[in-house]
Symmetry: C2
Subunit: 303 residues, 2 copies
């Protein structure tokens, strides 16, 4: 069985935790402990979020006198290196040497005319006070939106259209390697004329890109691992209820919070609808039970 | 014929040029134009330097209030993402779609007891005045050394011992992919007990690591591309002379500047001595002539 598992930013970095390397590594070490049995039992492809990290790197570049802030495609590539390395190393430390682990940089094509570019709404980076946000918006030309009781930078989040490295990815999986790729939803690139492709200022939704990855790799199971047990009805209300097994039809009849569970539900529905295979949303700690169908929210076609 | 080509930092970024993304991309675009014919004619594996970039990222992290500077292994991983992405994209834009291009994160094992850790001497990052260097050394605990008439940060540069991802690299090359890897000499990791490996504060020499890569991949030709036409006798003296064809024995009888031509000559000698194959040092602009044996300094065993 071939599994594509997308590790949510919240699964790798709890809200409000500092972005120090040590904190990230400790969280990734815990994630690797949960993932290692999966890596030994299945063909496993891992993707991961990068929201907090890409925001920090943007902030660092901005606060570094003498250098222009790097665009989001390059910052995304940096986070694929940084986070991919830590996941690869921690997983490598837990797996027998005969199981190779490899991290592949992943470029994902988006459409430069995607409406998202007119309406930035993907949160990246740390939280700001209203005052800090206004000041930074003015200084950098960044867009900010309220996120809970704080403010965060928002960037365009266009639809993923195509994964450039799909052939090399397939070759490595077929050879038995555990592959880490499509970090942060992939490095956003768009056609720039004359058959050329160039990076573009955006952050692709990690779950939608991972679902595309899972479909293109003919995965049997697409799992989105986060910090909650699954998809809930009436989330955080007295009558909240975990959905254990469901269908795209049912999920599409309900609304889920944009920017958190919404994209995960959409990614699960798209994958199941387009492939007829199974998707799941659940807690990283329970990922082995999720793979066995015993935990999380399992999404299948009717019947 | 299988070629491993190591792109020198000076080939991708001229001394004194700003590290803006646009400048780097423009240089990498030029490099890709030189490399594309090679990629169409041979099995090609590319590595690259990261000295200026890793130094900038360290500086950015350091100057960013609220976050601890990241260690050099993580910064190295970031540069493998950033530089690897730009090389992959520019090369991708010049190659027919049937030739896949892939960038693989590369961890390289070093020995934690390597004497280099007691004697940091590898330059990274921008140039400082003496005053700035002293101030930063005090603030960060970094080591500095004079480089020409300026000062730069120096870090340990231990010997590369083993490349972790060699199997996946070989698989991709055998499938016909152009592979970018071992950027910046690879991400430095060392055994940390109980069969675990952890990142370590160092920068591995890119040429020595690339030579190890070329040997492990059974490359027929190991080319180090830089910004000079080759190895010179009496460099920058009235009687300076370009060496066109030579042997490890001859090169070992002479001394070359440490930190620039020295490691390249050492890497060439090691590769030729250990494999019996050919190495070359020369200008990136002339890399196609170098591959044809018509330019650069060609290093072979006697006879």
């Amino acid at each position: 069985m071939r599994i594509v598992a997308a590790l949510g930013g919240n699964a790798l970095l709890k809200r409000g935790e500092p972005l120090d390397a040590g904190v990230q590594r400790e969280n990734i070490r815990k994630a690797a402990v949960a993932l290692a049995p999966l890596a030994e039992g299945y063909e496993l492809v891992l993707s991961h979020g990068n929201g907090p990290q890409v925001g920090l790197l943007a902030l660092q570049a901005a606060s570094c006198t003498g250098s222009e802030p790097y665009p989001l495609d390059i910052l995304g590539a940096e986070t694929e290196g940084m986070i991919g390395y830590m996941i690869e190393q921690e997983l490598r430390n837990l797996l027998p040497p005969e199981i190779p682990v490899a991290t592949i940089l992943t470029m994902v094509e988006v459409d430069a005319s995607d409406p998202a570019f007119k309406n930035p709404e993907k949160y990246v980076g740390p939280v700001y006070t209203k005052k800090q946000a206004d000041k930074t918006a003015q200084k950098r030309g960044w867009s900010f939106r309220q996120d809970g009781d704080a403010w965060r930078r928002v960037v365009p989040s266009p639809e993923p259209v195509r994964i450039f490295e799909i052939k090399p990815l397939r070759w490595l999986i077929e050879k038995g390697a555990i592959v880490i790729c499509t970090g942060g939803g992939g490095i956003p690139v768009a056609a720039s004329g004359e058959g050329r492709y160039s990076g573009i200022e955006a952050v692709i939704d990690k779950d939608l890109a991972s679902g595309l990855l899972a479909a293109d790799l003919s995965a049997d199971f697409f799992i989105m691992a986060t910090d909650v047990k699954g998809v809930y009805l009436n989330w955080r209300e007295s009558n909240e209820e975990l959905i254990r097994e469901t269908t795209p039809e049912f999920l599409r009849e309900h609304r889920f919070p944009p920017g958190s569970m919404g994209p995960k539900v959409e990614a699960a529905c798209r994958f199941v609808e387009s492939t007829g295979k199974t998707a799941a949303i659940g807690s990283l700690e329970e990922i082995n039970d999720i793979a066995a169908g015993k935990a999380g929210t399992i999404v299948r076609r009717e019947g």
